[in-house]
């Protein structure tokens, strides 16, 4: 339990998907213009991570490892992610049309979000780690904690950037730097700020 909690906190701050590994950068930069849409996308990413990562964990441990089929993991993981995104989309559309409308086109796009695939690939590496290591994922509970932490970390990152970009509308930025250029530099400065969480342990 303590281990899962520590993993959870670490994956939000020290091992943040955006600032430490640059995962999910494309949609992160494209969608972070307003806080409201960013929040929607962040919730959707967290939700999909929370389902796909434990499923991929079970597949890796109980199917791929015993059968020695490790080299098929890329195809299997992406197929699982694409299928689950499709199912989530249909379920959300059926049971909560209002949530579906607010997430809009982001849901199908999550299938090709690097953060989702990256979460599964990091999980694959972390299974092999020594269970004492703070980064290790030793059981299904850890997989859930890691998925939730990574998703929330992504959500925090995109909401912060959207807040800064909304404020920055009024700033006088040099012309060639406007838009994408200054956004990169802002993300770089945010990443520096997040570096002070490295070494955080519970």
């Amino acid at each position: 339990m303590e281990h899962a909690l520590s993993l959870f906190v670490r994956s939000i701050f020290a091992d943040n998907m955006i600032f430490a590994f640059f995962l999910g950068m494309c949609s992160y930069l494209a969608v972070s213009k307003t806080v409201k849409t960013s929040l929607g996308l962040g919730v959707a990413v967290t939700f999909v991570l929370l389902i796909t990562l434990p499923v991929n964990y079970l597949l890796q441990v109980y199917v791929l490892n015993p059968l020695n089929l490790g080299y098929l993991s890329f195809i299997l993981f992406i197929a699982v992610i694409a299928a689950i995104v499709q199912i989530v989309e249909m379920v959300v559309e059926k049971f909560s049309p209002s949530l579906y409308a607010s997430l809009g086109i982001f849901l199908p796009l999550i299938a090709v979000n690097c953060a989702i695939m990256g979460g599964s690939l990091f999980m694959q590496q972390r299974i092999l780690l020594d269970p004492e290591n703070v980064k290790a994922i030793a059981n299904i509970g850890d997989a859930f904690a890691y998925a939730l932490g990574s998703g929330l970390g992504w959500l925090v990152a995109i909401c912060c950037l959207a807040g800064i970009r909304e404020k920055m509308e009024y700033n006088d930025v040099p012309k060639p730097l406007q838009g994408l250029g200054i956004t990169f530099i802002v993300v770089g400065l945010m990443a520096m700020a997040f570096m002070c969480f490295s070494g955080l342990n519970i």
Binding site: F74, I75, C114, Q125, P176, G188
Partner: protein
């Protein structure tokens, strides 16, 4: 070489005016993470170029038989198969680089350049044009990777491709005046360098806009 105007544009456009990273904003994730040193950046650039070109060819060949509704899954499976091949080849012939690149090889699957080019070009164009488009975009991506990695390795470690560029005698430890910029090794600096490249690129190409 006798290249028609259109062919030339397809191949060379992505290198500068229509660069996938700094103009189309595709494939940023891996572009930043693998650029601490020049060697993994080179390998990554080559791997992505091969995969984009090959997947463009395959999807272009299949473009009339793929049902529209499931095209994303078909594209993902084609790309995933190619990435698996490249990953196995790298593990066999360049194990240390494969370990350095770790999950980012697998993440080529979700690299937006691939899906972007497949959707925007290969689904509607002939095989040869698609091949050139894939090659051009892969090279444009590799070019940015190499520029970023060049600065990060030179200023962060004083080496290029593992060879020492900044002489040992310049360092403070040996009585000199120079010290490596540790910040360059941090992820944050990659973002700021790309921001700088975008700034320079837009300042130079602004008359086209």
């Amino acid at each position: 070489m006798a290249l028609s105007q259109k062919t030339k544009e397809t191949l060379l456009g992505p290198l500068n005016a229509n660069n996938p990273v700094v103009v189309q904003v595709l494939g940023i994730c891996s572009a930043l993470a693998v650029t601490v040193q020049l060697k993994p950046a080179l390998v990554m650039g080559v791997a992505v170029t091969i995969i984009v070109a090959m997947s463009n060819v395959i999807i272009s060949l299949l473009r009339n038989t793929i049902p529209m509704r499931i095209r994303i899954i078909v594209q993902l499976v084609v790309v995933a198969a190619l990435v698996t091949l490249v990953s196995e080849v790298l593990k066999a012939f360049a194990y240390d680089v494969a370990m350095q690149l770790s999950v980012y090889i697998g993440l080529i699957i979700t690299n937006c350049i691939l899906m972007g080019r497949l959707e925007a070009f290969a689904m509607t164009n002939k095989v040869w044009d698609s091949f050139l488009d894939g090659l051009g975009n892969g090279l444009g991506y590799a070019a940015i990777l190499i520029i970023v990695a060049f600065f990060r390795e030179l200023f962060g470690a004083g080496t290029l491709l593992g060879f020492r560029i900044i002489p040992e005698s310049w360092y403070v430890a040996n009585g000199g005046f120079y010290e490596n910029c540790g910040m360059m090794m941090m992820p944050a600096m990659a973002l700021i360098i790309v921001g700088g490249i975008i700034w320079a690129h837009r300042a130079i190409n602004k008359e086209e806009k």
